[in-house]
């Protein structure tokens, strides 16, 4: 298991727990993540509002570098980066015209030989028999609402590894870790993503609906696979409480954090102490 790894711009900032827990879990399962040298921003949620070409060319630079590494497969934890890389990859593979045009823009030759996988897929397809013996502290009794959001599973023409309406990859991993994965209604509802920066008063209403559904499902915590989902669900939980008068206190983890916990990796190494919504009650529960 060897991947060219795209960290994404939040890797040392808002999403740093995702980064540390990703590497800790990858090491345990024997997955080698080789960072793409001098990777650049994928354009995030901004470039598709500006230009079709810019939207493909920004991720194409990193794809071209990754192709030169000779690994064949790229993975990234961030759902937005994944969407951007996978989208550019498909556009450049299916059309020679677009590929030539974009290569001219980047000044780098991308031939279109890579496969792009989200980290959820990359870890989710690992043989359960490899993971089971590593689960030394099963999360017995922990009720988890797995939240996938939008860009990880939609549109299916770009993503395609899981069901766009009722994805199960993270649920299956949580079950492997010994937790109970709940059926709930808002698995793939959008959190508003960057509306949390530009128009927080809109985003809080979107986040509120998701948190409400998670609480109603009886969840002890949520798991996510996107730094934006995490920022909105974890940090902006208090913005929701402040603006809408709610009293949410729902710990929100990256799926790699809970997997790591079940594998006996220390909470400090996973970054569990830098969340905004207290994680202690879950840590107490799973001991």
């Amino acid at each position: 298991m060897r991947y060219a790894y795209f960290p994404g711009c939040s890797y040392h900032g808002t999403g740093k727990e995702y980064e540390s827990s990703t590497h800790a879990v990858a090491k345990k399962i024997g997955m080698e993540l080789v960072t793409i040298p001098d990777w650049s921003c994928c354009g995030a949620t901004a470039s598709h509002g500006k230009s079709h070409l810019l939207n493909i060319a920004l991720p194409a630079r990193s794809l071209a570098i990754a192709e030169g590494m000779g690994i064949g497969e790229v993975t990234t934890g961030c759902a937005a980066c994944y969407q951007q890389l996978a989208h550019a990859n498909i556009r450049m593979t299916e059309s020679e015209e677009i590929r030539d045009k974009v290569n001219k823009i980047t000044g780098k030759e991308y031939k279109g030989t890579l496969k792009v996988k989200s980290l959820v897929e990359a870890i989710g397809i690992v043989d359960p028999e490899t993971i089971k013996p590593l689960i030394v502290k099963p999360l017995t009794g922990l009720k988890v609402a797995a939240y996938y959001g939008c860009l990880l599973v939609r549109p299916p023409e770009i993503t395609g590894f899981d069901d766009p309406e009722n994805p199960v990859f993270m649920d299956n991993m949580m079950k492997l870790a010994g937790a109970e994965a709940l059926d709930w209604a808002h698995k793939t509802e959008c959190c508003g993503a960057s509306l949390g920066v530009s128009n927080l008063n809109i985003a809080v209403r979107m986040i509120n609906k998701i948190l409400k559904a998670a609480v109603e499902s009886g969840a002890d915590c949520m798991v996510v696979a996107c730094p934006f989902c995490h920022l909105n669900m974890d940090y902006h939980q208090k913005s929701v409480n402040k603006q809408l008068g709610t009293t949410y206190d729902m710990p929100v983890f990256y799926f790699t954090e809970l997997l790591g916990l079940a594998m006996g990796i220390s909470p400090d190494d996973l970054g569990l102490k830098t969340h905004f919504t207290d994680t202690q009650k879950v840590l107490n529960q799973v001991g």
Binding site: C9, S10, H12, G13, T14, K16, D38, W39, S40, C41, G43, A44, T45, A46, S47, H48, G49, K50, S51, H52, L53, L54, A57, L58, R61, K101, K104, I105, T106, G107, K108, G149, C150, L151, R154, P155, P156, P164, E165, T188, E189, C190, G192, A193, S194, L195, V197, S198, N199, L200, I202, R205, M206, K209, Y235, T274, F276
Partner: protein, 193 residues
């Protein structure tokens, strides 16, 4: 309610209808207004025209109304609509093409739509300069341009305390290559701010 002469609008804006079809690559003419996109849209509550109406307006060539609408900016591009459309119209792609067209035509978004555009520009300008997103620079530029000076200010300290805020930008080695991407796209398309 404003009265619209449909025949006039369609013939006057035939180019626009065709262009949206080509740019987005979507068969907008197939939409029969079932409303499934709007029913599932998580942010329809904030839009001046809900998604199914946007597609109808494209069919009717209502260019000015569309390019001025807040909908095309408020759309979070989550693709719920695209995934559920029985006619396989990727509505999120249509929204994207409308945003790009609005930018090209110099139609300035207002209010909440403007905040979205300002944020996009702030993010991209840090990428053009450093090769990666620089969050502090993004927020500062966003606040200056949107006039919401203290937007997100309460995030600063808690982020800093958790080591989640890098005060200084870090430039990648190939920052000039990224700047070149922006320059080349501008040369090819013109108008990318």
């Amino acid at each position: 309610m404003e009265l619209i002469n449909v025949n006039e609008s369609i013939s006057k804006n035939a180019d626009f209808i065709e262009q949206i079809g080509i740019e987005s690559g979507q068969p907008v003419q197939k939409c029969y207004q079932c409303g499934k996109c709007t029913a599932g849209c998580p942010v329809a509550f904030e839009m001046d025209y809900p998604p199914h109406q946007v597609i109808r307006m494209v069919q009717l060539g209502m260019k000015d109304e569309l390019l001025k609408s807040n909908t095309i900016w408020i759309c979070a591009s989550c693709s719920t609509c695209s995934t559920r459309c029985p006619c396989k119209v990727e509505i999120a792609h249509v929204m994207e093409s409308l945003r790009i067209m609005a930018g090209r035509s110099g139609t300035a978004p207002v209010g909440k739509a403007k905040y979205v555009e300002v944020m996009y520009n702030a993010l991209l300008s840090t990428v053009e300069r450093y090769g990666r997103t620089y969050e502090v620079g993004l927020v500062m530029q966003n606040n200056l341009k949107s006039g919401k000076l203290f937007n997100g200010a309460d995030m600063g300290l808690p982020m800093l305390q958790r080591g989640k805020l890098k005060l200084m930008p870090s430039k990648i080695q190939g920052a000039a290559e990224v700047a070149r991407i922006f320059a080349e796209v501008r040369k090819m398309e013109g108008g990318v701010k």
